[in-house]
Amino acid sequence: MTGDGSLPRIARRRRQLLPGRLLWAFGLLGIAFVATVAWAIIHERQAEWRTWQARFEALTHTRLEEPGIRQIWLPQLGRVDRCTTCHLGISDASLASAPQPFRAHSGSWLVEHRVERFGCTVCHGGQGAATTYRDAGHHRIPHWDDPIRSPELMESRCGQCHVGRIPPRAPWLAEGRARIAASNCMGCHELPGFSPDEVRAPRLDGLGYKMNPVWLKAWLHAPSDMLPGSRMPDFRLTDEETRALTAFLRTLSADPPVDGHWDWDQADPEAGAAVFRRSRCVTCHAIDGRGGTVGPELTREGEKASREWIASYLADPHRYQPKTLMPQFRFTHDEVRDIAAHLSEDLWEEEQAPAAIRPAPPEGPEVKKGRQVFIKRGCDGCHALDTMKDVARIGPSLAGVGDRHLDLRALAPLHRVEAREVYAFTKVSDPVSVLATARMPTFGFTPMQAGEITVAVMALRARPMPTEYLAATASRPAYVPQGEFGALVQRYRCLSCHSVNGTGGTLSTVAFDRIGSQLQRDYIERFLLDPVAVRVGLAERMPKLGIDKEEATTLAGYLSAVFVDDALESPVPVEPDAAARGTRLYADLGCRGCHMTTDRGGGYLGPGLAGSGARLKPGWVVAFLRDPERWKPGTLQPDYGLTQQQARDLTAYVMSLPALRKGRTP
């Protein structure tokens, strides 16, 4: 465009304007720019994912129909997952043993969680948008919130949607949730999914009448020194705090014991011990470490409480503890006195409690200070006091702790942690190891227990899951039966051990859900009147509640009329040779390893089968034998893969077994 010779002229002028070195620098920068662009293009051509796609084609001897970055976009979940760019065989069962990253997903997880609907990172964590191995977060990256973690910790992500107490196929999460409930964590912390009403701890309103002050002081100082299986954690109280708290608790004077005219001279501890054994109190209460954990350990009950209070409590437990899991036994007046005498006389180690205890007057500086300690350490979170209402919970809310911002440096000044789950684990394991002034008590969890709790806590995400992703097992309202049946269930606290539709207790292996289709009505009635366990090996047997004839008829009638499953009610045709064929099958399968059919021989893991004809309903037996896991997940009953015919034959044999002579348990 310009005239001849104009270019050299401009160049000459530039040379004059710019010093030589700067011109050099510009030239080199230009070269660097070109080189960078070239490097970027070459780098992109040789991107890691292209290599993997080429290797996948070589491995499967096919060509990808659409090579390139693959992406699953889930706007509802806020996820963009490109993992399938390299994990090309993830839903191809024929690649189950291919090398990674091409291997098919293990198990049947993707059947229930389709990749197109769930993506990858919502369960696995990691950085979905990344296209290199490193950036995807396959390994822990310090200070990064959501890396791919071990399969155990991954269960915390199951808990985002599976909000029910027992999530399927997530054992650590289930254990963690159970442990949180059992440890009363929701007494101090707001924990979505756990209601403060679930807290199980005695109310203390009448403590001044109940507890031996000597015991109380030692107990507050270190509960597990007094009873190793104690559910109460160690608050690490100083001697001064212990004294003050003891002084305050001794003044609590509601619920005085009833004067039952007990005639203690007539008391017979040995007779009481016999009633104690016969009623199977150890199903819930441990003595010397042996027995159940539903109720408090009684090893040193005689040291802890006055016999007067024990007797009053046994006569009417629900008056003193309306929320207790303990049933109201139908003990006679004398039986109550004898049991109280037994607990008081026989179960103590260092010093027996006085026969009657009276509260201290509510005054003095110690009492005032003790009241402050009670509030400061959040005792009322678990132990409700009528005189102290609406005290704020002392623990921080744990809602959203799984992904909301946490300032870990402030939370854990003593212990450098980089990841929130490590913080949670360390804090749960030993609160003072991260913060010297921690108010949280020490529970003494093992690393495994702390890990379970960490899994459950990390499932509490601030980012809510869309409702259509939430699993149907969301917390169900507890079953509250009504009417005459409801009153009996309330009195005998059936749901402390038995479950209905996933709520209630877990101690009993017998859920009420379909009990009317499993057991015959007359058997239920007989059992309620005289509970003789069909499982000899079972430690947690049904207590002998003293249910009377009329009550048993009501309960059995309701259970067998209402809790019915139509799938089990189809009649089972009886064939003439069935029992004979069943006998052979019984021997061939080795059923005797776990079941007894006579009063000797056979194992006692499963229920004894003698007299099954008067106990079980055949439709249930057939269905259970064919698919035990369906009816009782985790049962020890093996799935032999029986045909319908085999199951019927076996049922015919089992139903033909005669009952044992009276007085002999199978």
Binding site: A35, Q100, M448, G590, G593, L636
Partner: protein, 177 residues
Amino acid sequence: LISRTRHVAQESRQPRPGPAAPTALSAWRPLLHVHSLVPLVALVVVGTLACGARRREAPRDPLDTAFTYPGLTAQASDGRRLFIARCAPCHGPGGRGDGPNAYNLDPPPPDFSRSLSKLPPATVETIIRKGTAAEGRSPLCPPRGKALTERQVRHLESFLAALRDGWELDDKRAGGS
């Protein structure tokens, strides 16, 4: 082919220097002579070293070992939980053949620390899946193949392998859980 690919896969975990990297370096080298860039370069070098040093001292993650029993892999630890739930009633928690139901059984369950070394792994797997009857023994050990997933069977096998090699639970370290 599979083994070769696996080898390649391991190789690729290390950060691969891009093939274009030498080109980039040679393009930058003349610039290093420019005095004004020296402080910048020094900053980058010191920064890189500092980051490297920081990463090295990252604390060990206590959660890596929380879910495993001392001396067991994660798989075998899961296997132990399955073993406790499904097998221990007869075989005993340590596989000694001393579970609560053991004395009802004839023949009694064996002591795994001795008997397992005589069994090939394939037989062990068959017994887990199909029961002892499938191996022509007494039918007292029932099949668990339908109740357990593939993964659970593998985990149970790896726990049994640990028992075979003499693993025992140290109660003090595991807290007895």
